[in-house]
Symmetry: C3
């Protein structure tokens, strides 16, 4: 594995091997000194053409905990303003001796293109609506930790499915792991057709939640749910917010996930996020371990 762009070509065996490394990284993170020198002298560049403090910090700490040097490049303050192309930006950073690029872009496909421009490893940290594979990996890892093997498990993903790279990558990875993925949201925020890796798509929240083994609420982009044919924020809450009562439709103790940042009391009742069924902070913690595992596999050439 040289790049992580999406899950095309992945096997369950590769996921298992990566998760095994992630469990070892959890061990490192449980120590008072959360550091191993595995990537000492290597350089990881975060290149974010779209702002995201959380994901950037998660990757940067993952790299530092493995002993790597980190450089941060943000589109907003860069030579791009001076007219330089993304290709030249990446090739320039590569010439500084960057070993891995962590790229986020508003446009789909930029990380894929990057693999043709530079020799270094490329990790997709979110490209448009297309994919966000490390988020899906940390979600699957967290789910497996909480409810065991995912084969045959019913997972309901609720919210703005249409615009969500998190939904798309989760559908792809959870499908690969044998889960039964349900995607549910207001009709204007559902995909018109296929493309979601065999997941079931519905506007009926009850149908999706009924007997679910786990529920994942997605972030609602406020600017998307206010205009035109789209539901108002109140409509959304009334019909799709995950509440205590609605969560009762799922299996007893079915956990609740959210990729963050949350709009408390929009996507879910604020209290649920702090309740015993919430895995929200566990997702964040596991994100560290999973991203450390990804960097380790890509840069040390583990044949996963």
């Amino acid at each position: 594995m040289r790049h992580l762009l999406d899950f095309s070509g992945w096997t369950r065996a590769r996921v298992d091997e990566l998760f095994q490394t992630a469990r070892a990284m959890q061990g490192v993170l449980a120590r008072p000194i959360k550091q191993v020198p595995a990537l000492k002298g290597r350089t990881v560049a975060t290149v974010f053409f779209e702002p995201s403090t959380r994901t950037r910090i998660s990757f940067e700490l993952a790299a530092k905990r493995l002993g790597a040097d980190v450089v941060s490049f943000s589109g907003a303050t860069s030579s791009l303003k001076k007219g330089e192309s993304i290709k030249d930006t990446l090739q320039t950073l590569a010439a500084y001796g960057v070993d891995a690029f962590v790229i986020r872009s508003a446009a789909a496909g930029v990380p894929h293109q990057a693999t043709r421009w530079v020799e270094a490893s490329v990790i997709n940290a979110g490209d448009g609506r297309r994919a966000h594979p490390t988020q899906a990996l940390l979600d699957a890892f967290t789910l497996q930790e909480a409810i065991g093997p995912l084969k045959g498990k019913k997972i309901a993903i609720v919210g703005d499915i249409l615009h969500s790279r998190v939904a798309r990558s989760n559908a792809e990875l959870l499908g690969l792991l044998g889960a039964e993925v349900w995607l549910v949201g207001p009709p204007p925020l559902l995909p018109r057709r296929g493309g979601f890796f065999g997941a079931r798509v519905t506007a009926e929240l009850k149908e999706a939640l009924k007997g679910a083994d786990a529920v994942m609420a997605l972030r609602i982009q406020k600017e998307r749910v206010s205009g035109g044919r789209l539901p108002s924020e109140e409509d959304y809450r009334a019909r799709y917010q995950i509440t205590e009562a609605r969560l009762a439709l799922a299996k007893p103790d079915a956990p609740l996930l959210h990729p963050g940042p949350m709009n408390r009391d929009v996507e879910l009742e604020g209290a649920l996020a702090d309740g015993p069924r919430s895995l929200v902070l566990r997702q964040v913690e596991n994100g560290q371990a999973v991203r450390m595992a990804v960097l380790y596999h890509l840069l040390l050439g583990r044949a996963a």
Copy 2:
């Protein structure tokens, strides 16, 4: 000591013990290789909801010189813009394995609240008008180094007292150390009543400076001294600027402090800042040592 929020509950013994560590840190800083691995593998997050390059860099270097990893989170470029609550931001960072939070906020009380949200240590790097305890510690440390034990010493603090967390924290700490603190400034910039830990409050500059063992000029927020009932910048200079002549009212060689950043020729005559009585740069230097000591005590659990 698990958090540093203000000086509530502090004793002179605790201050002495902390200053003893700070003197050891001065020794580290005097070496060509200004580094000890005391906090290797620990992670310190600076979380600034209000911009301050100086204080942030001072803490970040203090943490790095102790071998810690540092992550920086600035409110301006964060998920807060996406509607995430401060609580969720801090809990997310905590889930990345942050051991200590250095928090600055425009609203008073945020660092206190943070101690209920996260397990990690919390250091208040300035909250509203309330407190700025590391500034007061470095001021007291610098004063003690220059003029000896503070018991019975007269310290005049001049400027916008009302809005100043520096004045408030200095009054609290210097009072604890037995100094006689005088707070002086234009009447609209003085506190209406008490709340300043027994310090004397006056609008008469001469009275405050007379026989003072040390003088501290505070930064004037230009936007606060121009409107309405407030003095104009010229008025301020005419009546409260620390000049050579006015400083002559204090004890011979009484030193002059300023927390920075200075408006030269507003709060004080520019030449005084570069003169032999100025401790301005010594304050900055000692800020490093004191912040290293604070991190050391909080994270290595010295029972100060």
Copy 3:
């Protein structure tokens, strides 16, 4: 050598010694673990009053690869907004224990002034139109690597000469190394008279390119080539863009350089930048090695 401001007082011997160190640094950069602990415990501050992600990252990585700690200070987010002077900013950073300042400023002369304000070493990373010595060093190093000793070689530098600190520093250094430097561009973008260290100045592109051993295209500041007496972007392309055909006037295989960031298809045909004669990315790579060598010489006191 304590500071690097420009090449005043430099000898060929000093350049040779620095380049020898830079070649050793290339060796470090060719290893999988691109790190040596030469500057462990030292602190390098990048202080950019004018934004430049590329140059800043290049210096920061150079410092980190030598084991130094790095702090970044950007004028845009700093105390300068609060009215602090540049002098106070630098002295404050110096009091944090900074060993070397890398300074970029829109105003010429700021790095020179800085040497009077702080004890630390100062590296000029570009001051106004005046000088950009590390760029000239990496250019000369890259040229020498490609075409051998520069004595007697004809080097054509093409573009906005008048406003270019890169042209100025290259003219100074290449002249010192015995090269014959030609500066060429539209008449309004040429210097009125001298001051370019004996370089020949012309508006005739053919004359400058004819028989050249190497060609360097400069970045065109788009805002400068649109107004008033200045050529339009189309005019510029038509008359001064480096094209395949025009490059044929130079010696066979004469290499093409550009300091970046490039406006592809303005200063040069985009395809040339990716072609076999382009040294653009080699310049970036060598920039690392040369900047490591500069930091090493300044901070470890090599008597170059």
